[in-house]
Amino acid sequence: MSAPVVTVGTAQFAAHAAAASNGYRAALAREWRRASWPVRFSTICLVLFYLMAAASPVIAPYDPTLQHRELPDCPPMSLHLSAPSDWHDGFFYSHPLTLTDPIARTYTESRARRTYIHLFSRGHLFTTASSDAPYFMMGSDGLGRDLFSRIVYGARVSMTVGLVGVLISFSLGITIGAFSGYVGGLPDNLIMRWSEIEMSLPSFYFLLALAAVIPAGLSAVETFVMIVAIMSFISWAGFARVIRGMAASVRSRPYVEAAAALGGSRMRVLVRHVIPSVLGYAVVAATLSVPGFILGESALSLLGLGIQEPASSWGNLLAQAQDVQVLAHYPWILIPGVFIFLAVMSFNFLGDHLRDRLDPGNAG
């Protein structure tokens, strides 16, 4: 996050010089001190979420597809601190729950028994001695799968979809927009008419129609790629138009004309002079458009058109809440929504902060 700050912003020349002398960590520490507390909170959230995505098998206490058939729709379990004399068994413990009414799915807590939670054991951050006596931090779903483990694995989809999508649509947008604006003429006209069509699409309707193209029976990874491709296809146009406008205004600037006069080829001027001048804006816009991808994937998966069971994403975990009975009796099924909200909010705060830092002329 700090790297583009150091390399991109012209206003950050001082920070750049400081970074060169004091090193990267000092610059990072200064950025941290400058940030408001919502921005700091957002940064921490995102670091945690990406950690979850990168180290899912370690952070998830159980296999996300492991079904505890005797514990369906189990509520989040209680957590207690052990007395110091019991610390050799584990710092924390929970009371096991038993299903008393399999129809209404009511549970009773056996206060007399304890399930100890072991930290850093069997290759997990925390887990219980065996998966036969699980600890459901956030409850379980209708098949008795640990919701927290599924959320952790779901982070892989939900947290990468934004990055990959932004990467694709922005590479497209920057290349096409800069080309269109700098070259002008007929190609410019054609590209802009095409982007107008794409921008007039009722995008969510179109997203739904396009999602139908995804054939059934694809693996989770293939579906993921399809979803990202579809959303990038829809979203590059608006961005290309802004970049085009900026590139067109840069074209007549003296330094660009000078580069061309000195014999720089079109391609060279485009890549070395036009594109870098729009990069500061691009970083801000990229950060602010990540939430759109996260929400798009969640919405599709929620409606059953995206990532399919048994793979999990934060969106398809929420799909069960569409059943009013489930929503009424097992409200912990909404917890993945909190994660979506936190991720979206973090990117919004971060993007807003980056705009203040990189694009001071455009504050507001």
Binding site: A209, A212, Q322
Partner: protein
């Protein structure tokens, strides 16, 4: 005025053709078609399948089917829904009306709250109200629509104060007119809150930055120098000018509203265009998908057009001749 309108409407035609063609192309890429399930069924003789293929034109090449569809659309015939076996137009009509009602009420709700709050916040810049409300706006912008819908549905389930989803009650048909209207409104409250708050947050932020910008301009200083009261300065001079971008935004907000409405309709089970499209996409009902996409596009373009006309109405500086090519 007429020339401008004509130009704008003519501009819409290639857009509509382009969009519907892309949709048609997409639907043809879908593996299998509406009859795939029937073909699997051994009890249906192949002759019947072939007859249905011919009836729905599924055996013809893509371009021909698209041309036929477009020709039919020009005669206000959107084709027949393959799944419901009724004309697409009759299906879409009532659904689109529901979506429009939902979108418009959300928009009114959002504006009615966002504009006064934006004014209050901007006139008390950096006060505790400004900070709290601006933070809440950011918060509200980040809550996903569908998640908020779930939360409100859970709230409705717990308290029983509102109906949980649906467009009307089970006994709707037996009610008299007044009770019907009351019933519909009762079912609209939660979806409108969901959709309205989503738009409200960004509108409020825009209002705030607009007013702060205009407050420092010279004509406001002149107004103050004339000795006008702060009230008159804010409401007659600042506010009127701050509203301009809102009128432009109204057209674009409609795009977000339509998309947001589709999702909320699906989650809260409202009989709107979005839910209809979702069902059509799931059952590969080609003409119904096409009809819904077309309807959505037309609503969107119409919204943009109305916004442009309204902009001219509120801002005398904008003239038609400069707006033809946009």
């Amino acid at each position: 005025m007429t020339r401008f309108l004509l130009k704008r409407i003519l501009n819409m035609i290639p857009l509509i053709v382009g969009i519907t063609f892309i949709s048609f192309l997409v639907m043809s890429l879908v593996p299998g078609d509406f009859l795939s399930n029937l073909r699997m069924n051994p009890s249906i003789p192949p002759a019947v399948i072939r007859q249905m293929e011919a009836q729905f034109g599924l055996d013809q090449p893509l371009m021909l089917r698209y041309a036929k569809w477009l020709w039919a659309v020009l005669h206000l015939n959107l084709g027949i829904s393959l799944a419901y076996r009724v004309s697409v137009l009759s299906l879409i009509g009532s659904r689109a009306l529901n979506t429009v009602i939902l979108s418009l009420s959300s928009m009114i709700f959002a504006w009615a709250l966002a504009i006064p709050i934006g004014v209050i916040v901007a006139t008390r810049q950096n006060s505790i109200w400004d900070r709290v409300l601006s933070f809440l706006a950011f918060f509200g912008m980040s809550v996903p629509n569908f998640f908020f819908a779930f939360l409100l549905m859970y709230f409705a389930l717990r308290t029983g104060w509102f109906p949980v989803g649906g467009t009307f009650s089970v006994d709707y048909a037996s009610l008299d007119t007044m009770s019907r209207i009351a019933d519909r409104i009762n079912h609209l409250i939660l979806p409108v809150i969901v959709l309205g708050t989503a738009g409200m947050a960004s509108l409020m932020r825009l209002m705030r930055s607009q007013i702060l910008e205009i407050k420092n301009s010279e004509f406001v200083r002149t107004a103050r120098a004339k000795g006008l009261s702060e009230r008159v300065v804010i409401y007659k001079h600042v506010l009127r000018n701050a509203l301009n971008p809102f009128v432009t935004m109204a057209g674009y907000a409609l795009a977000d509203l339509l998309g947001g409405a589709a999702l909320v309709e699906a989650v809260m089970n409202l009989q709107g265009l979005g839910l209809l499209l979702l069902d059509a996409v799931r059952s590969l009902d080609v003409y119904l998908v096409m009809g819904s996409v077309l309807m959505g596009t037309v609503l969107l373009l119409l919204g943009n057009l109305l916004a442009d006309i309204a902009l001219v109405a509120v801002d005398p500086r904008v003239d038609f001749s400069s707006m033809g090519s946009r």
